[in-house]
Amino acid sequence: MNSMRVDNHPVFGSLEKRKNITIYFDDQPYAAYEGDTIASALLASGVRTLRCHEDKGTPRGIYCNIGHCFECRVRVHGQNTVRACLTPVENKMRIESGILATASFKGGKL
């Protein structure tokens, strides 16, 4: 059930067959196709919140989708600040939505 995916588009026609792979986002398995980016694969499965604001905790997700704004940054295989909107998915890819900072950045209080 890929409710969000446009399977047949009036202009581009229908989606050609692609290899089905699974990715793990915060230890939850999600179906995806090869050639998807992390952001589009998760969006197709209905996941919009890719991370929470490190200081204020508000949910954040795709914004510019062209790699400028870094709102979609996630952790992939332990590497931080990976842009979900630009990174293609691989089979059995482990993605985490990042950590919340314990102390606030502002005010310099430790």
Binding site: H53, D55, C69, F70
Partner: protein, 90 residues
């Protein structure tokens, strides 16, 4: 949308209210607003809020915009981890 819900700097989530208060209280330049509120220091490098902060400073009586007072473009253009800078991460 009240001043407190209007987010000017999306990366650091600084609201219009905070920025207006900072400008009115300290009568400061755009750079000082950035230093006091962190607006413009986020990963997007000020792309979203730089112009808004400059205009707000202009409207609320801060020093008029000239090139050395307004928010300059600072490297790195994209966020880079120290690991990458240090060369031990691809």
């Amino acid at each position: 949308m009240g001043d407190n819900e209007t987010v000017i700097c999306r990366c650091e989530e600084i609201t219009l209210k905070e920025i207006k208060e900072t400008i009115e209280r300290y009568q400061c330049s755009a750079r000082e607003v950035k230093l006091r509120t962190r607006a413009g220091m986020g990963p997007c490098g000020g792309r979203t809020c730089r112009c808004m902060i400059d205009r707000l400073v202009e409207q609320l009586g801060g020093p008029s915009i000239s090139n050395e007072i307004s928010l300059s473009y600072r490297p790195p253009v994209r966020p880079v981890s120290f690991g990458v800078l240090g060369g031990d991460v691809k």
